[in-house]
């Protein structure tokens, strides 16, 4: 009997039973009852919607025509696609185009244009992508780095967003019922170009552009990216379950859960987010059990569900339900990666991502957009920095596992991106892919044979970056296919990439030169300025190149008087410029910038006082980033994180491809937003530092004439 006949027979049988002359058969109970009642409801509802849509279609078309004509009257395009490939290096791209392995990039260059794209100071994603979206220099949008110091405590904190629990709670026995939502403050100021577009009736779909958390209201849809926390409130805390007590690992970004692996069974409990519902606080926990299976596989029993764990494969997203009390549930999602079951059990778990199916924080606009994506495409990573570079750096994951994870995330992003293209016939689609940044950070050592990070490591993934660029070329090809003639396509990166061979511990240098003082006999290696004697400290470094003066009246324990600022800046700048790396026989500092000279706008006072522009190969040392004082001023970088972009910005430009020619010879990242506005016929706001790369009048210009123009003329010096 064919399946078709079975179906027909089943239908006939059901119809027969339903038509039997008794009331009992009119109902088939909950379950099937729901299925049919809700299906009929959905069908009726959808039919009603369809009828309403069709009946109102002429009216809507007319309104759209009028609105659209108004919105798109001066528009030169129907659609703009910005495909962001975070950190894709123009030099490497050009090299591979010359080798002929990037045919789509080459085609795009031939059809339209290819340029290096001036990046921001600092040359890093939070700063650059914020300048991209606002068209402003950091002095106007206030995002100067990943980390900035809290002027009251001097402690480093995230520059882009702050999440605090609701201020008011209702005590109820052992519980504290929150009266309101968590308080989320965005660090970014100014306004993204898609908000301006929306105000003019042009709808945008924005996917995973860094520094878009919390998601702000505008006329379009947006999914947040960088700075979305995990359920623990951190920027990504992974878990490592291991029965190997002899294993020596230095884990600073993960939680190690020791297990006993007896007769192929391990039971344990791990802790997740803080229980903010209980007055006594504490962390929510989940018990679990791992049982060994055959061929090195296992199974995981958690939340009453058994999940197969295949050796060296990621599980699909698994939902974790934490119970804080009062019948409430806090839901997160994770993937597991079984490293081994013999002789020890070693199991990795990703940071607990906010569940997009029921988001605990505003990770999208509208709030339902995250849910829409989850329902139609399956669950996906929501964490800001979702590729777990820390787990590889700390050698919990190996390169294979990291690659697998990164490509899984990339597949999710691609699905979202092409869905957005499918849903947008008019308007802007912007999507940033992070894989280019994360893989280059972790695999750049393979492009530099003498890199210190190569010591003792194999070159199995020597071709990882080449393969990555080829994959991106294929993505560009698919995007070009989806873009029609009336679509302006931009493929861009926010900065380039170079090897990160040596770390320069700025706080160590400041300490050794008397600008930073410590308590006791000397630095103990404490993080977060644990050793610092603020009463005698004139300057300190936080983040990826910023140096802050301990200014009286600004810093809580400031001692530097205003009239000493100029001299102090000069001393530090001159000293750093003169610094020599005796091992590599180079001066690691190319330039030291004075914030008041390179930034403009109302937030310059919040910027680091000095910003160090490093020569490629040298970057801020790991200890210095979070306020530590390392043993050495300059030391080898032996971590997997072997490539970087926090160098002197002119040395690490981004790239810009377009399917149209551009009218300047030196475009900057601040020009992209204004260009999109201009293409849609929307006036570029006066506060923007960038300018259109495709002004209408340029269409008639000759090629020679365009060569004389320069992008973002009003922008800061860089």
């Amino acid at each position: 009997m064919t399946p078709r006949l079975v179906l027909i027979a089943t239908c006939v049988l059901v119809c027969g039973l339903l038509s039997a002359p008794a009331p009992a058969e009119a109902y088939v109970g909950p379950g099937a009852g729901f299925a049919f009642v809700s299906s009929i409801f959905i069908l009726l509802f959808t039919m009603l919607l369809a009828v309403v849509t069709l009946l109102t279609w002429p009216v809507r078309l007319a309104v759209q025509k009028i609105r659209g004509n108004r919105a798109l009257a001066a528009s030169r395009v129907k659609r703009v696609i910005v495909l962001g490939l975070d950190g894709q290096d123009p030099e490497l791209t050009e090299q591979l185009m010359d080798e002929g392995v990037l045919p789509n990039f080459s085609k795009l260059r031939q059809q339209g244009s290819f340029h290096r794209l001036r990046t921001t100071l600092l040359a890093e994603s939070p700063v650059a992508w914020t300048s991209f979206q606002t068209g402003c220099n950091p002095g106007k949008h206030r995002v100067f780095d990943f980390l900035v110091p809290n002027r009251k405590s001097h402690l480093p904190e995230l520059a882009s967003a702050r999440v605090e629990p609701p201020k008011r709670t209702l005590p109820l026995g052992p519980f504290r019922i929150p009266l309101g939502k968590p308080l989320i403050t965005a660090g970014r100021r100014s306004q993204p170009f898609w908000k301006t577009l929306g105000d003019h009736g042009i709808v945008s779909m924005i996917l995973r552009v860094p520094i878009t958390f919390p998601a702000e209201k505008f006329n379009g849809t947006l999914l947040s990216a960088m700075s979305v926390p995990d359920l623990n409130g951190s920027q990504g805390t992974y878990y490592y379950f291991s029965s190997d007590t002899d294993e020596q690992l230095t884990m600073t970004s993960g939680v190690r859960v020791p297990l006993e692996w007896t007769n192929g069974v391990a039971r344990g409990v791990f802790t997740g987010p803080e229980n903010s519902l209980r007055a006594s606080g504490g962390e929510l926990s989940l018990p679990f059990e791992v049982r060994a299976g055959s061929n090195g596989h296992a199974e995981l029993d958690i939340n009453g569900v058994v999940h197969p764990l295949k050796r060296r494969e990621y599980t699909p997203w698994i939902t974790l339900d934490f119970k804080p009390g009062l019948a409430m549930t806090v839901t997160g999602i994770v993937r597991f990666y079984l490293i081994e079951t013999a002789p020890h059990l070693k199991l990795y778990m990703t940071p607990i991502n906010i569940d997009p199916d029921q988001p605990a924080l505003p990770i999208s606009h509208p709030f339902t957009y995250a849910i829409y994506l989850s329902k139609t495409q399956g669950r996906y990573s929501t964490l800001g920095l979702c590729e777990d570079t820390s787990a590889l750096n700390e050698e919990v994951l190996n390169e294979d596992a990291f690659l697998q994870q990164t490509y899984l995330i990339h597949e999710e992003r691609e699905r979202m991106f092409f869905d957005a293209l499918d849903k947008t016939s008019r308007g802007a689609v912007v999507c940033v892919f992070d894989i280019t940044d994360r893989l280059q950070h972790m695999f750049f050592r393979h492009l530099d044979e003498t890199h210190p990070a190569n010591r003792g490591r194999d070159d199995k993934h020597k071709g990882a970056i080449r393969k990555l660029y080829i994959e991106m070329d294929a993505l560009v090809g698919r995007t070009m296919e989806a873009a029609g003639d009336d679509t302006a396509l931009f493929v861009m990166s926010d900065h380039g990439f170079k090897p990160f061979r040596r770390g320069v511990n700025l706080n160590t240098w400041l300490y050794r030169h008397g600008f930073l003082a410590v308590k006791g006999d000397g630095p103990t290696g404490a993080d977060m300025f644990g050793d610092v004697d603020w009463a005698r400290t004139k300057a300190y470094a936080v983040g990826f190149g910023g140096i802050y003066l301990n200014l009286e009246g600004r810093e809580a324990k400031g001692i530097v008087k205003l009239d000493a600022v100029k001299q102090l800046k000069r001393e530090i700048s001159d000293g750093l410029r003169a610094l020599v790396d005796k091992v590599e026989e180079v001066r690691p500092v190319r330039e030291v910038y004075d914030a008041t000279e390179v930034y403009s706008g109302p937030y310059v006072a919040d910027a680091p006082d000095l910003i160090v522009g490093f020569r490629p190969g040298h970057r801020v040392g790991w200890a210095s980033v979070t306020g530590g004082i390392g043993d050495e001023v300059i030391e080898d970088n032996t971590r997997y994180w072997s490539g970087d972009h926090n160098f002197n910005p002119p040395d690490v430009p981004g790239m810009l491809f377009s399917n149209r020619p551009i009218a300047v010879d030196s475009p900057g990242i601040m020009d992209i937003g204004p260009t999109v506005l201009d293409l849609f016929g929307v006036a570029v706001p006066s506060y923007c530092d960038g300018q259109s790369l495709m002004p209408a009048e340029a269409d008639a210009d000759t090629e020679d004439a365009t060569k004389t123009r320069s992008g973002s003329a009003r922008a800061a010096a860089l």
């Binding site: 179906l7 039997a20 139609t376 016939s425």
Partner: protein, 276 residues
């Protein structure tokens, strides 16, 4: 087949008697509520076990997602219509996925319904309340012979029988003066058939039809089926309808069961981890 159905009915009737026993002093809506609760949970659990939950979840999620999409992409008419098409397709796909569980669930639902009908569709007679008793003969010619109704003490036949040839029926009007479960005997020539009649015991099982058809035996439990060679095809006592009310509102037992079981099932589907 008839014997098997009779056996199942007997067992189920006993089980439901036990379930209803604690509620006999309360209005019948209480018992209906408890049975609806238990049925709701059981049937949702059964749906979970008999359906492809992974695919059901996928399809339901897609429907929900695309419904959100219709709202999100209002400005794109083409997209909205395309999403509506997808919702249509997925709804039929979902109904397809529910077909097999539906077939399986028909069996327990039918059995539960018959027991509910036995208890909540009609009510036993009140003492002194008149009632019609109707016998259906297999052959109209049987009506030409003698058909008598013998009643026990405490039951009075109020009217002589009325024969209706066109429908092969003979009808009496009775009155029950003594509470209890009485046996009426319909005599057709040498053949006799017993039919129970209940009066004055509050609410409880009241089988209004005793029949020779297997399907009727299934649908109207409470008494054994009539033998196939018996001249009578069915005997029916026209009990008055059961008066079910909730918060002063009259409720049909079927509607009440439908709403209550769905509500309980819906409330507990999350606990049971079942997608419906």
């Amino acid at each position: 087949m008839g014997a098997l159905v009779n056996l199942i009915n007997s067992v189920l009737t006993r089980i439901f008697d036990v379930i209803c026993w604690p509620f006999r002093a309360l209005p019948p809506i209480w018992a209906l509520g408890v049975i609806s609760f238990a049925s709701g949970i059981f049937l949702v659990w059964l749906f979970g076990k008999t359906s492809d939950q992974k695919r059901v979840r996928e399809v339901r999620d897609r429907i929900r997602g695309n419904l959100i999409g219709v709202r999100l992409f209002q400005h794109e008419i083409g997209v909205v219509l395309s999403l509506q098409g997808k919702i249509f397709g997925d709804t039929f796909r979902f109904m397809g996925l529910a077909l097999v569980p539906l077939l399986i669930m028909l069996v327990p639902v039918l059995l539960i319904m018959t027991q509910l009908q036995l208890r909540f569709d009609v009510r036993p007679l009140e003492v002194g309340e008149p009632v019609l008793v109707k016998a259906l003969v297999r052959e109209a010619s049987t009506l030409d012979g003698t058909i008598t109704l013998e009643v026990p003490e405490g039951v009075t036949v109020e009217t002589p029988p009325v024969k209706i040839r066109s429908t092969r029926e003979i009808v009496w009007r009775l009155r029950v003066d003594r509470p209890g479960d009485h046996a009426l005997v319909v005599r057709v020539g040498d053949e006799v058939l017993e039919k129970r009649i209940v009066a004055g015991r509050g609410w409880g099982p009241a089988a209004y039809l005793r029949s020779g058809h297997t399907l009727d035996t299934l649908l109207y439990p409470g008494e054994p089926p009539i033998a196939a060679d018996h001249p009578l095809e069915a005997v029916e006592v026209a009990y008055p309808p059961q008066d079910l009310s909730l918060l002063g509102i009259r409720v049909n037992w079927l509607i009440g069961f439908l709403i209550l079981s769905m509500a309980f099932g819906f409330a507990f589907k999350g606990v049971l981890g079942v997608e419906v």
